[in-house]
């Protein structure tokens, strides 16, 4: 398994009830709280999962970077430049990388198992 060798894995979210991978994101905003995403099965309407957002990147990456920078502190112009230059490129590359992992060797375990067994320290 990829995650045993490389410490990384990926899978597509799916509905526990009907097995569908078609999902809808219901995004909840409350001032002062982290944004929460309630994932709904697009086929049967069941609750699939809830994610708490600590960062957000859209395809308008410079705007996403600005949002991230508003709550972070850089002290070096060089490092900020690096972050600015890499930001959009990194996200796009990571997106393609995750798709490749899923295409080649999708992790079949439940999300809880992956998160709690292998990636607890990352939380």
């Amino acid at each position: 398994m990829r995650y045993r060798e490389k410490k990384e894995t990926a899978r597509i979210e799916h509905c526990e009830k009907c097995g569908s991978t078609a999902t809808k994101n219901n995004i909840y905003f409350l001032k002062g709280e982290y944004v929460k995403v309630y994932v709904e099965c697009a086929d049967c309407g069941a609750f699939v999962a809830r994610y708490t957002l600590r960062g957000y990147t859209s395809n308008r990456t410079y705007e996403s970077l600005l949002r991230n920078l508003r709550s972070s502190r850089f002290n070096s112009g060089k490092r900020t430049m690096k972050a600015v230059e890499l930001f959009g490129k990194d996200v796009e590359e990571q997106f393609q990388h995750v798709r490749d992992i899923i295409r080649e060797d999708e992790d079949q375990r439940r999300m809880e198992e992956i998160i709690e067994e292998d990636f607890r320290e990352e939380l």
Partner: protein, 455 residues
């Protein structure tokens, strides 16, 4: 087992670290007349720190702790050249929780709360909604808002906020309109300038205050503002005038969609109230006698105690910057204790030179350095030296260097705000140099003359 830490980048880091340590060793081995053994070792540590802060193989705060390790191992160990015993070495650790660092921490907490509850965006939008649509006046409103916010929250965060607000307006101009550049450049420039206004505006201010504190020369919060605010006002006005001249507006009005703001909720009102009370206490510390650093703990206790901020906010408080300030102050102690500061000052032929000329030299050196390296690193390296120059009051020298370290606006790498504006793709390097070099030169002149007259 795979050695995952030995990546190509980490190997490069280790090579630079080894080179910096080797350079420090070579320098400390030189037989320099008039410099004690402790002074030579400190010069070696200073050399290593300078190389690491310039090359940035790792974040700047890592260098702060390398400095402490070298100071304690080479200078302050039992039987070492500083003749320290027992726990006396903690003199090099104490700057990391110095009163200035605590003051900055309080500023970070307030900035975090203001950001988390959207007060920064609310303030910026409500000011901009009132400045009208004449391009030059709108630019002035934008720059004043940016400068004001960056006195209290980080220059980086302020720039990110204001660029977000400005981008739709900038994009509403035709592509060849020169005033687009004025709008985008006005934000980082005024963020850099605004940081000058308060002790918590930008790290060089704290470094200057901290090193002066160690010399028992205290500058209070209000003392700093009384000198900083006039400089901010004049520099903002000059910068605005220059940008309007260099990139004149080709349109009469700007197109701006005004959004109706929702009324402030209770939490936001409470945070704003605490913010105002803390600032009032900072400004009146000479009347009530509570030190500014202790006042700075109030927002920490209130916001975290009432769960308006949480553990994630605590982790994101910019501890790295506090460590950079601590590292600079720790290096300053070593330079003073070992006699290195005085030795360097004696080497420079300042005798008979006019005070204004000396201050110009300091300011130009700071601005040149900070064009290429971080303004905190510049302050950390220069302030411990300039405060030893006998011809000038240490307060004047330290403040000139701190302010000039915020005035370099020439390249995208000069400051994080410049890098953010450059990242928008709306200005290129040549445009930034064109606007930034003139404003940097004028800023240096104004800073030197004002601080000379005000101290």
């Amino acid at each position: 087992m795979e050695l995952i830490i030995l990546t190509r980048e980490n190997i490069k880091t280790l090579i630079i670290l080894a080179a910096a340590l080797a350079a420090g060793f070579v320098v400390s081995s030189l037989n320099l007349p008039g410099l004690s053994e402790a002074g030579r070792i400190t010069l070696g540590i200073f050399t290593t720190a300078a190389i690491l802060w310039v090359m940035e193989p790792f974040p700047l705060y890592v260098t702060s702790f390398i400095i402490v390790i070298l100071e304690v191992v080479l200078l302050a160990r039992e039987g070492g050249p500083l003749q320290m015993t027992g726990k006396e070495y903690t003199v090099f650790l104490s700057p990391f929780f110095d009163s200035v660092v605590v003051l900055f921490l309080g500023g970070f907490v307030m900035a975090k709360a203001v950001n988390r509850y959207g007060l920064d965006e609310r303030i910026s939008r409500s000011i901009l909604a009132r400045v009208g649509t004449r391009p030059s006046i709108f630019l002035l409103g934008m720059m004043v808002t940016t400068a004001f916010l960056s006195m209290w929250i980080s220059n980086t965060a302020t720039t990110a906020l204001m660029v977000t607000v400005a981008i739709p307006i900038v994009k509403s101009f035709p592509g060849e309109e020169p005033f687009r550049k004025a709008l985008i450049l006005g934000i980082p420039f005024s963020a850099n300038i605004g940081g000058i206004g308060t002790p918590i505006g930008t790290p060089p201010n704290a470094i200057a205050m901290g090193i002066l504190n160690q010399m028992e020369l205290e500058i209070s919060f209000i003392d700093w503002m009384l000198r900083g605010i006039p400089v901010v006002i004049i520099l903002t006005a000059v910068c605005w005038f220059m940008l309007c001249r260099i990139f004149p507006a080709g349109v009469d009005r700007i197109r701006m969609e005004s959004e109706e703001q929702e009324p402030m909720d209770r939490k936001s009102k409470f945070i704003l109230s605490v913010f105002l009370v803390v600032v009032a206490l900072w400004l009146t510390s000479s009347y009530h006698g509570i030190p500014s650093s202790i006042v700075a703990l109030i927002p920490f206790v209130v916001f975290f105690g009432l769960k308006l901020l949480d553990g994630d906010d605590l982790n994101a408080l910019g501890w790295g910057i506090l460590f950079i300030i601590g590292g600079g102050m720790s290096l300053g102690i070593a330079m003073r204790e070992s006699g290195l500061s005085m030795w360097i000052v004696d080497l420079i032929p300042f005798a008979g030179m006019d005070i204004l000329m000396i201050l110009f030299i300091f300011a130009v050196a700071a601005a040149l350095m900070t064009t290429f390296i971080s303004n905190s690193a510049t302050a950390n390296l220069l302030i411990p030296i300039v405060v030893g120059v006998p011809a000038v009051a240490p307060e004047t020298s330290a403040v000139v260097v701190a302010l000039a370290a915020s005035a370099a606006m020439i390249l995208p790498i000069s400051t994080p705000p410049n890098a953010i504006a450059y990242g928008s793709g709306l200005v290129n390097v040549r445009t930034m140099i064109r606007g930034g070099s003139i404003i940097t030169a004028i800023s240096i002149i104004i800073i030197v003359i004002f601080i000379y007259l005000l101290f």
